[in-house]
Protein backbone atom coordinates (compact mmCIF):
# COMPACT_ATOMS: atom_id res chain seq x y z
CA UNK A 1 0.00 0.00 0.00
CA UNK A 2 2.79 2.34 1.02
CA UNK A 3 4.75 1.49 -2.15
CA UNK A 4 1.74 2.36 -4.28
CA UNK A 5 1.40 5.75 -2.55
CA UNK A 6 5.09 6.53 -3.01
CA UNK A 7 4.87 5.53 -6.67
CA UNK A 8 1.78 7.71 -7.22
CA UNK A 9 3.49 10.63 -5.51
CA UNK A 10 6.60 10.16 -7.66
CA UNK A 11 4.45 10.06 -10.82
CA UNK A 12 2.63 13.24 -9.68
CA UNK A 13 5.98 15.01 -9.02
CA UNK A 14 7.22 14.00 -12.47
CA UNK A 15 4.05 15.47 -14.00
CA UNK A 16 4.42 18.65 -11.89
CA UNK A 17 8.03 19.05 -13.04
CA UNK A 18 6.81 18.80 -16.59
CA UNK A 19 4.24 21.60 -16.17
CA UNK A 20 5.64 25.06 -16.97
CA UNK A 21 2.39 27.00 -16.61
CA UNK A 22 -0.48 25.97 -14.34
CA UNK A 23 -3.60 28.12 -14.20
CA UNK A 24 -6.39 27.28 -11.74
CA UNK A 25 -9.72 29.08 -11.36
CA UNK A 26 -8.30 32.33 -12.70
CA UNK A 27 -10.65 35.32 -12.64
CA UNK A 28 -10.23 38.87 -13.97
CA UNK A 29 -12.74 41.70 -14.27
CA UNK A 30 -12.55 45.23 -15.64
CA UNK A 31 -15.13 47.21 -13.66
CA UNK A 32 -18.40 45.30 -14.03
CA UNK A 33 -17.14 43.36 -17.02
CA UNK A 34 -16.09 39.87 -15.90
CA UNK A 35 -13.66 38.88 -18.65
CA UNK A 36 -12.09 35.73 -17.17
CA UNK A 37 -14.61 33.70 -15.19
CA UNK A 38 -12.85 30.44 -14.49
CA UNK A 39 -9.69 29.68 -16.43
CA UNK A 40 -7.94 26.35 -15.92
CA UNK A 41 -5.00 25.34 -18.08
CA UNK A 42 -1.73 23.44 -17.94
CA UNK A 43 1.12 23.95 -20.37
CA UNK A 44 3.68 21.16 -20.43
CA UNK A 45 7.35 21.47 -21.28
CA UNK A 46 7.93 21.52 -25.04
CA UNK A 47 4.21 21.77 -25.76
CA UNK A 48 2.42 24.21 -28.09
CA UNK A 49 -1.09 25.11 -26.99
CA UNK A 50 -3.27 27.15 -29.30
CA UNK A 51 -6.04 29.20 -27.70
CA UNK A 52 -9.00 29.70 -29.99
CA UNK A 53 -12.00 31.86 -29.33
CA UNK A 54 -14.07 34.72 -30.64
CA UNK A 55 -12.87 38.29 -30.12
CA UNK A 56 -13.41 39.74 -26.65
CA UNK A 57 -13.51 36.36 -24.88
CA UNK A 58 -10.40 37.05 -22.76
CA UNK A 59 -7.63 35.30 -24.69
CA UNK A 60 -5.22 38.24 -24.67
CA UNK A 61 -6.13 39.03 -21.06
CA UNK A 62 -5.11 35.48 -20.11
CA UNK A 63 -1.62 35.76 -21.58
CA UNK A 64 -1.22 39.28 -20.20
CA UNK A 65 -1.94 37.84 -16.74
CA UNK A 66 0.67 35.13 -17.38
CA UNK A 67 3.25 37.77 -18.31
CA UNK A 68 2.39 39.81 -15.21
CA UNK A 69 1.13 42.76 -17.28
CA UNK A 70 -2.29 42.40 -15.61
CA UNK A 71 -3.01 41.27 -12.08
CA UNK A 72 -5.68 38.56 -11.73
CA UNK A 73 -8.52 39.13 -9.25
CA UNK A 74 -8.64 35.55 -8.02
CA UNK A 75 -7.26 32.07 -8.64
CA UNK A 76 -3.81 30.64 -8.98
CA UNK A 77 -1.32 31.25 -11.79
CA UNK A 78 2.00 29.46 -11.54
CA UNK A 79 4.71 30.04 -14.12
CA UNK A 80 7.79 27.80 -13.87
CA UNK A 81 6.56 26.80 -10.43
CA UNK A 82 6.20 30.35 -9.11
CA UNK A 83 2.91 31.99 -8.15
CA UNK A 84 2.98 35.21 -10.23
CA UNK A 85 0.93 37.37 -7.83
CA UNK A 86 3.28 36.60 -4.91
CA UNK A 87 6.42 37.70 -6.73
CA UNK A 88 8.31 40.85 -5.80
CA UNK A 89 9.32 43.28 -8.57
CA UNK A 90 12.78 41.75 -8.84
CA UNK A 91 11.43 38.18 -8.85
CA UNK A 92 8.90 39.12 -11.54
CA UNK A 93 11.70 40.66 -13.56
CA UNK A 94 13.70 37.46 -13.29
CA UNK A 95 10.71 35.36 -14.28
CA UNK A 96 10.00 37.60 -17.27
CA UNK A 97 13.53 37.06 -18.54
CA UNK A 98 12.51 33.41 -19.05
CA UNK A 99 9.28 34.40 -20.81
CA UNK A 100 8.98 35.63 -24.36
CA UNK A 101 5.99 37.62 -25.60
CA UNK A 102 5.29 38.23 -29.25
CA UNK A 103 2.84 41.10 -29.58
CA UNK A 104 0.22 41.24 -32.31
CA UNK A 105 1.87 44.28 -33.87
CA UNK A 106 5.42 43.05 -33.24
CA UNK A 107 5.87 46.05 -30.90
CA UNK A 108 9.30 46.87 -32.33
CA UNK A 109 10.96 49.99 -30.93
CA UNK A 110 10.46 52.26 -33.91
CA UNK A 111 13.24 54.73 -33.09
CA UNK A 112 15.79 51.89 -33.27
CA UNK A 113 17.13 49.78 -36.12
CA UNK A 114 16.63 46.01 -36.14
CA UNK A 115 20.13 45.59 -34.70
CA UNK A 116 19.37 48.05 -31.86
CA UNK A 117 16.02 46.33 -31.22
CA UNK A 118 17.89 43.07 -30.70
CA UNK A 119 20.71 44.66 -28.70
CA UNK A 120 18.26 46.28 -26.29
CA UNK A 121 17.30 43.11 -24.34
CA UNK A 122 20.87 41.81 -24.46
CA UNK A 123 22.34 44.90 -22.81
CA UNK A 124 19.43 45.69 -20.48
CA UNK A 125 18.28 42.25 -19.40
CA UNK A 126 21.29 39.95 -19.80
CA UNK A 127 23.71 42.86 -19.13
CA UNK A 128 25.99 41.54 -21.86
CA UNK A 129 29.07 43.61 -22.65
CA UNK A 130 31.08 41.47 -25.05
CA UNK A 131 30.33 43.04 -28.46
CA UNK A 132 31.49 40.04 -30.46
CA UNK A 133 29.24 37.72 -28.48
CA UNK A 134 26.27 40.05 -28.87
CA UNK A 135 26.89 40.40 -32.59
CA UNK A 136 27.03 36.63 -32.92
CA UNK A 137 23.74 36.20 -31.05
CA UNK A 138 22.08 38.82 -33.25
CA UNK A 139 23.32 37.11 -36.42
CA UNK A 140 22.21 33.68 -35.17
CA UNK A 141 18.74 34.79 -34.28
CA UNK A 142 18.25 36.79 -37.49
CA UNK A 143 19.43 33.79 -39.45
CA UNK A 144 16.87 31.65 -37.63
CA UNK A 145 14.06 33.93 -38.79
CA UNK A 146 15.62 34.42 -42.23
CA UNK A 147 16.18 38.18 -42.01
CA UNK A 148 19.95 38.73 -41.96
CA UNK A 149 19.67 41.44 -44.63
CA UNK A 150 17.34 43.61 -42.53
CA UNK A 151 19.82 44.17 -39.71
CA UNK A 152 20.29 47.91 -40.30
CA UNK A 153 16.73 48.73 -41.33
CA UNK A 154 14.19 50.61 -39.24
CA UNK A 155 10.83 48.97 -38.42
CA UNK A 156 9.06 51.48 -40.69
CA UNK A 157 11.01 50.02 -43.65
CA UNK A 158 9.82 46.45 -42.97
CA UNK A 159 6.69 44.66 -44.18
CA UNK A 160 4.15 43.22 -41.71
CA UNK A 161 5.58 39.72 -42.00
CA UNK A 162 9.15 40.97 -41.57
CA UNK A 163 8.15 42.91 -38.47
CA UNK A 164 6.64 39.75 -36.97
CA UNK A 165 9.86 37.89 -37.74
CA UNK A 166 12.00 40.57 -36.12
CA UNK A 167 9.61 40.57 -33.13
CA UNK A 168 10.09 36.83 -32.92
CA UNK A 169 13.87 37.24 -33.17
CA UNK A 170 13.81 39.81 -30.34
CA UNK A 171 11.77 37.38 -28.24
CA UNK A 172 14.12 34.47 -28.98
CA UNK A 173 17.35 36.35 -28.37
CA UNK A 174 16.87 36.00 -24.60
CA UNK A 175 16.45 32.22 -25.07
CA UNK A 176 13.14 32.06 -23.20
CA UNK A 177 11.68 28.82 -21.86
CA UNK A 178 8.12 29.87 -22.65
CA UNK A 179 6.82 32.03 -25.51
CA UNK A 180 3.40 33.67 -25.54
CA UNK A 181 2.17 34.59 -29.01
CA UNK A 182 -0.64 37.13 -29.37
CA UNK A 183 -2.20 36.50 -32.78
CA UNK A 184 1.07 35.97 -34.66
CA UNK A 185 -0.54 35.75 -38.11
CA UNK A 186 -3.15 38.51 -37.87
CA UNK A 187 -3.01 40.97 -40.76
CA UNK A 188 -0.78 38.77 -42.93
CA UNK A 189 -1.57 37.23 -46.30
CA UNK A 190 -2.15 33.42 -46.34
CA UNK A 191 1.33 32.63 -47.70
CA UNK A 192 3.15 34.76 -45.10
CA UNK A 193 0.82 33.39 -42.38
CA UNK A 194 1.83 29.88 -43.32
CA UNK A 195 5.52 30.87 -43.31
CA UNK A 196 5.19 32.38 -39.83
CA UNK A 197 3.33 29.30 -38.55
CA UNK A 198 6.02 26.99 -39.90
CA UNK A 199 8.67 29.26 -38.44
CA UNK A 200 7.03 29.00 -35.00
CA UNK A 201 7.22 25.18 -35.18
CA UNK A 202 10.82 25.26 -36.47
CA UNK A 203 11.95 27.65 -33.73
CA UNK A 204 10.10 25.70 -31.06
CA UNK A 205 12.04 22.60 -32.07
CA UNK A 206 15.36 24.47 -32.31
CA UNK A 207 15.11 26.39 -29.02
CA UNK A 208 12.98 23.77 -27.18
CA UNK A 209 10.43 26.28 -25.94
CA UNK A 210 6.88 25.80 -24.71
CA UNK A 211 4.27 28.11 -26.21
CA UNK A 212 0.78 29.46 -25.85
CA UNK A 213 -0.45 30.81 -29.17
CA UNK A 214 -3.55 32.93 -29.44
CA UNK A 215 -5.00 32.94 -32.90
CA UNK A 216 -8.15 33.08 -35.01
CA UNK A 217 -6.28 31.47 -37.87
CA UNK A 218 -7.32 27.82 -38.14
CA UNK A 219 -4.58 27.07 -40.68
CA UNK A 220 -2.02 28.38 -38.20
CA UNK A 221 -3.62 26.34 -35.38
CA UNK A 222 -3.43 23.17 -37.48
CA UNK A 223 0.28 23.68 -38.15
CA UNK A 224 1.49 24.74 -34.70
CA UNK A 225 -0.84 23.12 -32.16
CA UNK A 226 -0.06 20.08 -30.09
CA UNK A 227 -3.25 20.86 -28.23
CA UNK A 228 -6.03 23.40 -28.80
CA UNK A 229 -8.03 25.06 -26.03
CA UNK A 230 -11.30 26.70 -27.03
CA UNK A 231 -12.32 29.72 -24.98
CA UNK A 232 -15.85 30.99 -24.68
CA UNK A 233 -17.34 33.53 -22.31
CA UNK A 234 -14.32 33.70 -20.01
CA UNK A 235 -13.58 29.98 -19.67
CA UNK A 236 -12.18 27.07 -21.63
CA UNK A 237 -14.99 24.90 -22.91
CA UNK A 238 -12.89 22.23 -24.62
CA UNK A 239 -9.31 21.12 -25.06
CA UNK A 240 -7.91 18.49 -27.39
CA UNK A 241 -5.89 17.90 -30.51
CA UNK A 242 -6.90 19.44 -33.81
CA UNK A 243 -8.37 16.12 -35.02
CA UNK A 244 -10.30 15.56 -31.80
CA UNK A 245 -11.88 18.99 -31.85
CA UNK A 246 -12.83 18.89 -35.53
CA UNK A 247 -14.88 15.79 -34.71
CA UNK A 248 -16.55 17.40 -31.70
CA UNK A 249 -20.35 17.12 -31.67
CA UNK A 250 -20.57 20.53 -29.96
CA UNK A 251 -21.80 23.04 -32.54
CA UNK A 252 -20.00 25.98 -30.93
CA UNK A 253 -16.64 24.17 -31.15
CA UNK A 254 -17.37 22.82 -34.59
CA UNK A 255 -18.10 26.33 -35.91
CA UNK A 256 -14.44 27.31 -35.41
CA UNK A 257 -13.26 24.61 -37.78
CA UNK A 258 -15.79 25.12 -40.58
Amino acid sequence: MNDTLVQEKATQTAVDDDVVIRIEHLKKSFGDNEVLKNINLELHKGENIVVLGRSGQGKSVTIQCIAGLLEPDDGSLKVLGKEVKDLSDDELKELRSKLGFLFQSGALYDSMTVRENLLFPLTRVLKMKDEAEMEQRIKDVLESVGLEEAIDKYPADLSGGMRKRVGLARTLILRPEIILYDEPTTGLDPITSREISELIVKLQEKYETSSIIITHDIACARIVADRIAVMNDGEFIATGTYDELTKSPDELINNFFK
Binding site: A67, G68, L69, K93, E94, R96, S97, L99, G100, F101, F103, Q104, S105, A107, L108, Y109, D110, F120, P121, R124, V125, R170, T171, L174
Partner: protein, 261 residues
Amino acid sequence: MRTIMASVLTSAFNKYMEVVGDQVVFTGQFARNIFRDGFEWGEFLRQCYIVGYRSIGLVAITGFIIGFVLTLQTQPTLKDFGAESYVPGMVSISIVREIGPVIIALICAGKIASSIGAELGSMKVTEQIAAMEVSSANPIQYLVVTRVLACTMMLPLLTIMADALALLGGWVGVNVQEHVSMALFFRKSFNALKFSDLLPSVVKTFFFGYAIGFVGCYKGYHSSRGTESVGSAANSAVVSASLWIILIDAIAVQVTNLIYY
Protein backbone atom coordinates in the same frame (compact mmCIF):
# COMPACT_ATOMS: atom_id res chain seq x y z
CA MET B 1 -31.06 68.50 -7.76
CA ARG B 2 -28.80 68.83 -4.75
CA THR B 3 -28.17 65.04 -4.75
CA ILE B 4 -27.21 65.09 -8.44
CA MET B 5 -24.83 68.01 -7.84
CA ALA B 6 -23.28 66.23 -4.87
CA SER B 7 -22.82 63.02 -6.83
CA VAL B 8 -21.24 64.88 -9.79
CA LEU B 9 -18.88 66.74 -7.45
CA THR B 10 -17.98 63.55 -5.57
CA SER B 11 -17.27 61.73 -8.80
CA ALA B 12 -15.12 64.61 -10.12
CA PHE B 13 -13.25 64.80 -6.81
CA ASN B 14 -12.64 61.02 -6.82
CA LYS B 15 -11.31 61.17 -10.37
CA TYR B 16 -9.04 64.08 -9.46
CA MET B 17 -7.71 62.21 -6.43
CA GLU B 18 -7.08 59.15 -8.60
CA VAL B 19 -4.94 61.28 -10.93
CA VAL B 20 -3.10 62.80 -7.96
CA GLY B 21 -2.50 59.30 -6.58
CA ASP B 22 -1.21 58.09 -9.96
CA GLN B 23 1.15 61.06 -10.16
CA VAL B 24 2.51 60.38 -6.68
CA VAL B 25 3.11 56.73 -7.61
CA PHE B 26 4.75 57.82 -10.88
CA THR B 27 7.01 60.24 -8.98
CA GLY B 28 8.00 57.39 -6.67
CA GLN B 29 8.76 55.13 -9.65
CA PHE B 30 10.84 57.91 -11.21
CA ALA B 31 12.85 58.50 -8.03
CA ARG B 32 13.36 54.77 -7.37
CA ASN B 33 14.64 54.14 -10.87
CA ILE B 34 17.15 56.98 -11.24
CA PHE B 35 20.18 54.87 -10.34
CA ARG B 36 18.63 51.40 -10.30
CA ASP B 37 20.63 48.91 -12.39
CA GLY B 38 22.99 51.65 -13.60
CA PHE B 39 22.13 54.85 -15.42
CA GLU B 40 21.11 55.10 -19.07
CA TRP B 41 23.84 57.58 -20.07
CA GLY B 42 23.47 57.00 -23.80
CA GLU B 43 19.73 57.68 -23.84
CA PHE B 44 20.14 60.60 -21.40
CA LEU B 45 22.67 62.31 -23.69
CA ARG B 46 20.46 61.62 -26.72
CA GLN B 47 17.55 63.28 -24.91
CA CYS B 48 19.79 66.23 -23.91
CA TYR B 49 20.59 66.63 -27.60
CA ILE B 50 16.90 66.47 -28.58
CA VAL B 51 15.62 68.67 -25.75
CA GLY B 52 18.55 71.10 -25.62
CA TYR B 53 20.35 71.32 -28.94
CA ARG B 54 17.26 71.00 -31.10
CA SER B 55 15.50 73.77 -29.17
CA ILE B 56 18.33 76.28 -29.54
CA GLY B 57 16.94 77.90 -32.71
CA LEU B 58 13.43 78.44 -31.36
CA VAL B 59 14.64 79.62 -27.96
CA ALA B 60 17.27 81.94 -29.49
CA ILE B 61 14.78 83.67 -31.80
CA THR B 62 12.20 83.94 -29.01
CA GLY B 63 14.75 85.36 -26.58
CA PHE B 64 16.07 87.92 -29.05
CA ILE B 65 12.57 89.11 -30.01
CA ILE B 66 11.43 89.38 -26.37
CA GLY B 67 14.32 91.74 -25.61
CA PHE B 68 13.87 93.67 -28.84
CA VAL B 69 10.10 94.19 -28.43
CA LEU B 70 10.31 94.95 -24.72
CA THR B 71 12.82 97.72 -25.46
CA LEU B 72 10.78 99.17 -28.30
CA GLN B 73 7.65 99.20 -26.13
CA THR B 74 9.20 100.77 -23.04
CA GLN B 75 11.70 103.19 -24.52
CA PRO B 76 9.16 105.90 -25.62
CA THR B 77 7.43 105.87 -22.22
CA LEU B 78 10.67 106.16 -20.28
CA LYS B 79 11.78 108.89 -22.71
CA ASP B 80 8.64 110.91 -21.83
CA PHE B 81 9.74 110.82 -18.20
CA GLY B 82 13.35 111.62 -19.07
CA ALA B 83 14.40 108.21 -17.78
CA GLU B 84 15.77 106.78 -21.01
CA SER B 85 19.02 105.80 -19.34
CA TYR B 86 17.07 103.27 -17.25
CA VAL B 87 16.08 101.23 -20.31
CA PRO B 88 18.99 98.70 -20.08
CA GLY B 89 18.41 98.14 -16.35
CA MET B 90 14.68 97.76 -16.74
CA VAL B 91 15.05 95.37 -19.65
CA SER B 92 17.65 93.22 -17.91
CA ILE B 93 15.74 92.97 -14.62
CA SER B 94 12.44 92.15 -16.37
CA ILE B 95 14.07 89.59 -18.65
CA VAL B 96 16.27 87.84 -16.11
CA ARG B 97 13.84 87.82 -13.20
CA GLU B 98 10.59 86.93 -14.89
CA ILE B 99 9.97 87.23 -18.61
CA GLY B 100 12.92 85.13 -19.80
CA PRO B 101 12.44 82.04 -17.60
CA VAL B 102 8.64 81.97 -17.85
CA ILE B 103 8.31 82.60 -21.60
CA ILE B 104 11.10 80.17 -22.47
CA ALA B 105 9.56 77.55 -20.20
CA LEU B 106 6.15 78.04 -21.83
CA ILE B 107 7.69 77.83 -25.30
CA CYS B 108 9.51 74.63 -24.26
CA ALA B 109 6.31 73.23 -22.75
CA GLY B 110 4.72 73.61 -26.19
CA LYS B 111 7.65 72.06 -28.01
CA ILE B 112 9.06 69.46 -25.61
CA ALA B 113 6.18 68.33 -23.37
CA SER B 114 3.96 67.75 -26.41
CA SER B 115 6.70 65.85 -28.20
CA ILE B 116 7.43 63.62 -25.18
CA GLY B 117 3.70 63.08 -24.55
CA ALA B 118 3.09 62.09 -28.17
CA GLU B 119 6.18 59.86 -28.37
CA LEU B 120 5.45 57.92 -25.20
CA GLY B 121 1.72 57.84 -25.98
CA SER B 122 2.46 56.34 -29.36
CA MET B 123 4.83 53.81 -27.78
CA LYS B 124 2.08 52.87 -25.35
CA VAL B 125 -0.52 52.45 -28.10
CA THR B 126 1.80 50.30 -30.22
CA GLU B 127 2.65 48.16 -27.16
CA GLN B 128 6.35 49.13 -27.23
CA ILE B 129 6.26 50.01 -23.52
CA ALA B 130 4.55 46.70 -22.70
CA ALA B 131 7.21 44.94 -24.79
CA MET B 132 9.93 46.55 -22.67
CA GLU B 133 8.14 45.59 -19.46
CA VAL B 134 7.58 42.02 -20.50
CA SER B 135 11.16 41.54 -21.65
CA SER B 136 12.33 42.56 -18.17
CA ALA B 137 13.86 45.81 -19.40
CA ASN B 138 13.03 48.87 -17.30
CA PRO B 139 10.87 51.32 -19.30
CA ILE B 140 10.69 53.86 -16.48
CA GLN B 141 14.46 54.05 -16.30
CA TYR B 142 14.99 54.08 -20.04
CA LEU B 143 12.12 56.33 -21.11
CA VAL B 144 11.06 58.44 -18.13
CA VAL B 145 14.18 59.04 -16.02
CA THR B 146 16.27 60.06 -19.03
CA ARG B 147 13.66 62.46 -20.43
CA VAL B 148 12.79 64.11 -17.12
CA LEU B 149 16.45 64.61 -16.18
CA ALA B 150 17.33 65.88 -19.67
CA CYS B 151 14.56 68.51 -19.44
CA THR B 152 15.64 69.44 -15.89
CA MET B 153 19.25 69.95 -16.96
CA MET B 154 18.64 71.61 -20.33
CA LEU B 155 16.01 74.21 -19.45
CA PRO B 156 18.33 76.34 -17.27
CA LEU B 157 20.94 76.37 -20.05
CA LEU B 158 18.36 77.32 -22.67
CA THR B 159 17.02 80.06 -20.40
CA ILE B 160 20.48 81.53 -19.73
CA MET B 161 21.14 81.58 -23.47
CA ALA B 162 17.75 83.17 -24.16
CA ASP B 163 18.35 85.83 -21.47
CA ALA B 164 21.69 86.74 -23.07
CA LEU B 165 20.10 86.99 -26.51
CA ALA B 166 17.19 89.01 -25.08
CA LEU B 167 19.71 91.58 -23.81
CA LEU B 168 21.28 91.60 -27.26
CA GLY B 169 17.79 92.12 -28.71
CA GLY B 170 17.32 94.98 -26.25
CA TRP B 171 20.51 96.64 -27.42
CA VAL B 172 19.39 96.30 -31.08
CA GLY B 173 16.00 97.76 -30.06
CA VAL B 174 17.62 100.80 -28.46
CA ASN B 175 19.74 101.32 -31.55
CA VAL B 176 16.69 101.48 -33.81
CA GLN B 177 16.16 105.08 -32.72
CA GLU B 178 19.40 106.11 -31.12
CA HIS B 179 23.00 105.08 -30.97
CA VAL B 180 24.14 103.34 -27.78
CA SER B 181 27.33 101.28 -27.71
CA MET B 182 27.02 97.61 -26.89
CA ALA B 183 29.56 97.92 -24.06
CA LEU B 184 27.56 100.72 -22.42
CA PHE B 185 24.23 98.92 -22.80
CA PHE B 186 25.52 95.68 -21.32
CA ARG B 187 27.40 97.46 -18.50
CA LYS B 188 24.23 99.30 -17.49
CA SER B 189 22.23 96.07 -17.79
CA PHE B 190 24.55 94.09 -15.53
CA ASN B 191 24.95 96.96 -13.05
CA ALA B 192 21.22 96.86 -12.46
CA LEU B 193 21.24 93.11 -11.74
CA LYS B 194 21.86 91.67 -8.29
CA PHE B 195 22.74 88.17 -7.17
CA SER B 196 19.22 87.91 -5.75
CA ASP B 197 17.87 88.47 -9.28
CA LEU B 198 20.03 85.84 -10.93
CA LEU B 199 20.07 82.91 -8.53
CA PRO B 200 16.32 82.41 -7.91
CA SER B 201 15.54 82.82 -11.60
CA VAL B 202 18.04 80.10 -12.53
CA VAL B 203 16.92 77.80 -9.72
CA LYS B 204 13.27 77.98 -10.73
CA THR B 205 14.12 76.93 -14.30
CA PHE B 206 15.28 73.54 -12.94
CA PHE B 207 11.77 73.11 -11.55
CA PHE B 208 10.21 74.30 -14.83
CA GLY B 209 12.32 71.74 -16.69
CA TYR B 210 11.34 68.97 -14.28
CA ALA B 211 7.64 69.89 -14.67
CA ILE B 212 7.89 69.83 -18.48
CA GLY B 213 9.64 66.45 -18.55
CA PHE B 214 7.52 64.87 -15.83
CA VAL B 215 4.15 66.00 -17.20
CA GLY B 216 5.10 64.98 -20.76
CA CYS B 217 6.18 61.52 -19.57
CA TYR B 218 3.20 61.06 -17.25
CA LYS B 219 0.64 61.98 -19.90
CA GLY B 220 2.29 59.81 -22.54
CA TYR B 221 2.90 56.84 -20.25
CA HIS B 222 -0.69 56.89 -19.01
CA SER B 223 -2.42 57.46 -22.32
CA SER B 224 -5.15 54.95 -23.01
CA ARG B 225 -5.20 52.64 -25.99
CA GLY B 226 -6.13 54.10 -29.38
CA THR B 227 -4.63 56.68 -31.71
CA GLU B 228 -6.88 59.46 -30.41
CA SER B 229 -5.24 59.15 -27.02
CA VAL B 230 -1.84 60.05 -28.53
CA GLY B 231 -3.14 63.48 -29.62
CA SER B 232 -4.91 63.88 -26.34
CA ALA B 233 -1.72 63.01 -24.39
CA ALA B 234 0.27 65.60 -26.36
CA ASN B 235 -2.40 68.23 -25.88
CA SER B 236 -2.94 67.70 -22.17
CA ALA B 237 0.84 67.54 -21.64
CA VAL B 238 1.17 71.11 -22.97
CA VAL B 239 -1.80 72.42 -20.99
CA SER B 240 -0.76 70.78 -17.71
CA ALA B 241 2.92 71.67 -18.08
CA SER B 242 2.00 75.32 -18.78
CA LEU B 243 -0.23 75.44 -15.71
CA TRP B 244 2.52 73.90 -13.57
CA ILE B 245 5.01 76.48 -14.84
CA ILE B 246 2.73 79.37 -13.86
CA LEU B 247 2.06 77.77 -10.47
CA ILE B 248 5.76 77.08 -9.78
CA ASP B 249 6.57 80.65 -10.81
CA ALA B 250 4.03 82.05 -8.35
CA ILE B 251 5.50 79.91 -5.56
CA ALA B 252 9.07 80.83 -6.56
CA VAL B 253 8.28 84.56 -6.38
CA GLN B 254 6.86 84.16 -2.88
CA VAL B 255 9.83 82.10 -1.71
CA THR B 256 12.31 84.58 -3.24
CA ASN B 257 10.57 87.49 -1.54
CA LEU B 258 10.67 85.66 1.79
CA ILE B 259 14.37 84.91 1.48
CA TYR B 260 15.75 88.12 0.00
CA TYR B 261 13.35 90.94 0.84
